[in-house]
C-alpha cells in the first residue's frame, strides 16, 4: 500500500519485510499476486469447469485445474511474468498490519501513564489481538490464536519517549510481532495512534482465515481504543452485556452454544 509522506500512516509505517526479502527467501514463485475477489471468481469458474470437463475434455480439465489452482493459491504465473499484481501488499507479504488512530479528550501525560506504566493496561489494549500476560521487567507473553493452533511469543517494550511514544518488539517466539503507541496533543485532545504488525507462520492463508473466524484485527483494535476513550471521557465503558432480550435471541445464543 502506498503511504503518503504526510499522512499519519507514514509516521509509524515500518513493515518487517519488503518484497526483496520475500524474493531472497525463495518464496517469490508462490507469493500472492491475485486480489481476493479475483481468486474467488477463479476458484469458482475453475471448479465448475473441472467438474463439467473431467473425463470428457482434456483442455477443459487442464484449464479448470489451472483456474482452480490460481484461485486457491492466489498466485498467477501470467501476472508474475508481466510483473503485475492485483493483491494488496499485506496479502503479498503475509503480514498483518493494523493502524488505528482515535482522539481522546484527556491530557497526554495521563494517557501515557495509563498505557505505559500499568502493565495490565498494555495487556488489556492488546487483548483483542492476543492473550497477553505481563512477565515483569517490560516483557509480555503473547498468545495469538490462529485457526489451527495458538502461537506464543515473548515481547519486550522498549524505546520509551515519555510522554509521547513507546514501541514493542518480539524477543523470541513463532510469531513476529511489533508495534508502537504514539500520543500527540491536538486542539481536540490527544491523538492516540496504535500500530501493530505481525507475521504468523502460514502467512496470508492464516490471516485470511483468522478474518473469516471473526477476529478482524482492525475492528478489535478500534473497539479497544474506543473503550479507552469512553472510559476517559465518561468514566465508564458503554455496554449492553447483561440486558434483557427476548426468546428469539436466547434461542440463537443457545444454538450457538450447543453447535
Amino acid at each position: 500500500m502506498p503511504v503518503h509522506p504526510g499522512s499519519p500512516l507514514a509516521v509509524c509505517y515500518r513493515p518487517f519485510m519488503n518484497n526483496e526479502n520475500i524474493e531472497s527467501n525463495g518464496q517469490k514463485s508462490r507469493h500472492v499476486n491475485v486480489a481476493s475477489w479475483e481468486r474467488f471468481v477463479s476458484a469458482g469458474a475453475g471448479g465448475l469447469l473441472l467438474t463439467k470437463s473431467l473425463g470428457r475434455s482434456l483442455p477443459g480439465t487442464v484449464l479448470g485445474a489451472a483456474l482452480a489452482y490460481r484461485g486457491l493459491s492466489g498466485h498467477c504465473h501470467l501476472y508474475e511474468s508481466l510483473n503485475h499484481s492485483t493483491a494488496p501488499e499485506e496479502h503479498q507479504s503475509g503480514e498483518v498490519r493494523v493502524l488505528r488512530v482515535v482522539t481522546i479528550e484527556a491530557p497526554r501525560e495521563e494517557l501515557f501513564q495509563f498505557f505505559r506504566h500499568t502493565p495490565d493496561r498494555f495487556a488489556e489494549i492488546m487483548s483483542p489481538l492476543a492473550e497477553v500476560t505481563p512477565l515483569g521487567d517490560d516483557r509480555y507473553r503473547f498468545l495469538i490464536k490462529g485457526p489451527f493452533k495458538t502461537y506464543e511469543s515473548i515481547t519486550r517494550v522498549h524505546n520509551t519517549r515519555e510522554p509521547e511514544s513507546f514501541e514493542w518488539d518480539t524477543e523470541s517466539g513463532e510469531v513476529e510481532h511489533r508495534g508502537s503507541l504514539r500520543l500527540q496533543t491536538s486542539p481536540w485532545g490527544t491523538e492516540v495512534s496504535v500500530e501493530v504488525c505481525y507475521r504468523v507462520p502460514g502467512g496470508h492463508l492464516t490471516s485470511a482465515l483468522s478474518r473469516l473466524t471473526g477476529r478482524e484485527p482492525h475492528e478489535t483494535l478500534e473497539r479497544a481504543l474506543r473503550q479507552v476513550k469512553a472510559r476517559f471521557e465518561t468514566g465508564e465503558v458503554p455496554t449492553v452485556e447483561g440486558q434483557p432480550m427476548g426468546a428469539g435471541k436466547q434461542r440463537l445464543v443457545r444454538d450457538g452454544a450447543t453447535a
Binding site: 479528550e105 481536540w188 471521557e233 455496554t239 449492553v240 440486558q243 432480550m245 427476548g246 436466547q250 440463537l252
Partner: protein
C-alpha cells in the same frame, strides 16, 4: 417483565423477558408509564434496517418513574417522573458539549459496525438495531437508561405523562427539522408526510410566523388533521405536488422543504414505480421519491431539511437541480436533549398540547396488533400510545366493579 420483541419482518410479539438491571454506575432503571410506536419503528417492522436481530426489544419513545439509580447518578432519585430522549448521549464528549447529542462519540457499544457502513459512529439509540448500540428499547415495563443524568428530563407535576411523552422524539424532531430548514417570518414551508413528525413540523413551523405551511400526504385522516391544524393540504393521489407547489407559491417554489417521510416514501408516477422495483430487487435500500420532489419544488437558494430517516443508498437523486438552484441541505437524527427543556416550557405555557395527534391508546400487551394497525394505516391510526399498566388498571377496575359490598 413484558416487552415487545422483534422476531422477524412483520413479526413482533409481546413476551416475558428478564427485568433490566443496572450495568454501569451512571445507569438508572425506569418503570415505563407511557410508551409510543414511532413511524421509524415501522422501518424496523418492515425489516428494512440492517443489524436488527430476533430477540431485540423495540421502542424509543417513553416516559417513566425512576426505580433505581447507579452509584454515580446524583441529580435523579427514586420516584422521579421522567421523559427519556431516544438518543443515548454521554454528555462529556466533543459532540455532546456542542449539544450535538445524536452524534455522541461514546454511547454506541458497536462503533466499528457503524464506522464500516457510514465512516463514523453516532449515538446509541434505544431499540434501534445493533449498529446503533443494540440497547433494549422502551416498549416494555422497565428500561435501563444509560448516562441517566443526560438521558432523563424530570416532568413537572402539572404536566401529565402523556403530554410529556413526545418530548422523547417526535416533537423535538419536528422542531429541529423546522430550525434546520431556517423557517422565518413570511416563508412558505412545504412538509412532506403528515405522520407524527410531519404534524409536529407543521405545528413547530407555525411558531416562526410563516406565510403558509403546505402539507403533502396521501392518507385521508392525516390530511384531515393537517388541515385542522392550519396547513394547506396537497393530496398526492389527486394533485401533483410538482405542479401544485409552484401554483401555491406564485411560481417561486417553497422557501423551506421538509422531508418528514424518509426511506419508505410511496409517491406516484414513474419515479415511484422505479424506486419500488429497485427496492424490491434490493438494488437500493431507500426510496428517495419525496426527496426528489422536495428538491424539485424548493425555490432557488432555499433549504431542504430531512428529519425522515434514511439508512443506506439511494439512486437517481436530482443533485443537478439542487446544485443549479443553490440549495442548502440539513439533516440527521435529532439532538433531543438540546430541545427538551425549551419545548417542555412551551407545553407548560400551554402554547402546544402535544397529545393532539394521539388516535389510539392500547395496553402494552396489545402492542403487536398496534404495530400491524399502524403499519396498515388502518382505523385512522396516526399515533399509538401504549400503557404498560393498562391491563392491571383494567383488572383493578373490574374487581372494583364486581366486588360485593362487604357487610359491616
Amino acid at each position: 417483565m413484558k416487552a415487545l420483541v422483534f422476531h422477524g419482518k412483520m413479526d413482533v410479539r409481546v413476551e416475558t423477558v428478564p427485568d433490566p438491571q443496572l450495568l454501569n454506575p451512571k445507569d438508572a432503571i425506569v418503570q415505563v408509564t407511557r410508551t409510543a410506536i414511532c413511524g421509524s419503528d415501522l422501518h424496523l417492522y418492515h425489516g428494512l434496517m440492517p443489524a436488527l436481530e430476533p430477540g431485540d426489544i423495540l421502542g424509543h419513545e417513553f416516559t417513566g418513574v425512576v426505580l433505581e439509580v447507579g452509584s454515580k447518578v446524583r441529580h435523579l432519585k427514586k420516584g422521579d417522573r421522567v421523559v427519556v430522549p431516544f438518543t443515548i448521549s454521554c454528555g462529556n464528549c466533543f459532540h455532546c458539549k456542542k449539544h450535538e447529542y445524536s452524534l455522541c462519540d461514546n454511547s454506541n457499544t458497536n462503533p466499528t459496525l457503524q464506522e464500516a457502513a457510514y465512516g463514523a459512529s453516532t449515538a446509541g439509540l434505544y431499540g434501534y438495531t445493533h449498529m446503533l448500540g443494540g440497547y433494549a428499547g422502551g416498549q416494555a415495563e422497565f428500561v435501563r437508561v444509560p448516562f441517566a443524568e443526560v438521558g432523563c428530563l424530570k416532568i413537572p407535576d402539572q404536566v401529565s405523562d402523556e403530554r410529556a411523552l413526545f418530548l422523547s422524539d417526535i416533537f423535538p424532531t419536528g422542531f429541529q427539522a423546522v430550525e434546520n430548514a431556517g423557517v422565518g417570518e413570511g416563508d412558505t414551508v412545504a412538509v412532506w408526510g403528515c405522520g407524527p413528525v410531519g404534524l409536529f413540523a407543521i405545528k413547530s413551523a407555525q411558531m416562526f410566523g410563516p406565510e403558509k405551511v403546505i402539507a403533502i400526504d396521501g392518507v385521508d385522516e392525516r390530511l384531515e388533521l393537517a388541515r385542522k391544524i392550519g396547513a394547506v393540504v396537497v393530496d398526492y393521489r389527486t394533485e401533483n405536488p410538482l405542479t401544485r407547489i409552484p401554483e401555491l407559491t406564485g411560481g417561486r417554489g417553497a422557501d423551506c422543504c421538509i422531508d418528514a417521510v424518509g426511506m419508505e416514501s410511496h409517491g406516484f408516477g414513474p419515479g415511484a414505480i422505479y424506486d419500488k422495483a429497485k427496492h424490491l430487487l434490493r438494488l437500493q435500500t431507500d426510496r428517495p421519491n419525496v426527496l426528489r420532489q422536495a428538491i424539485q419544488t424548493c425555490r432557488k437558494g432555499g433549504t431542504v431539511s430531512i428529519p425522515g430517516v434514511y439508512g443506506g443508498l439511494i439512486d437517481k437523486l436530482n443533485l443537478g437541480s439542487a446544485f443549479g438552484k443553490g440549495l442548502t441541505f440539513k439533516m440527521g437524527q435529532t439532538h433531543v436533549q438540546k430541545y427538551m427543556k425549551p419545548l417542555l416550557e412551551k407545553i407548560v405555557n400551554g402554547e402546544i398540547d402535544p397529545t393532539f395527534l394521539i388516535t389510539h391508546r392500547d395496553s402494552l400487551l396489545d402492542a403487536a396488533e398496534a404495530y400491524r394497525r399502524f403499519s396498515d394505516k388502518e382505523d385512522g391510526c396516526i399515533k399509538v400510545v401504549l400503557d404498560p399498566l393498562m391491563a392491571s388498571r383494567r383488572v383493578l377496575e373490574a374487581v372494583e366493579a364486581t366486588a360485593l359490598p362487604v357487610a359491616p
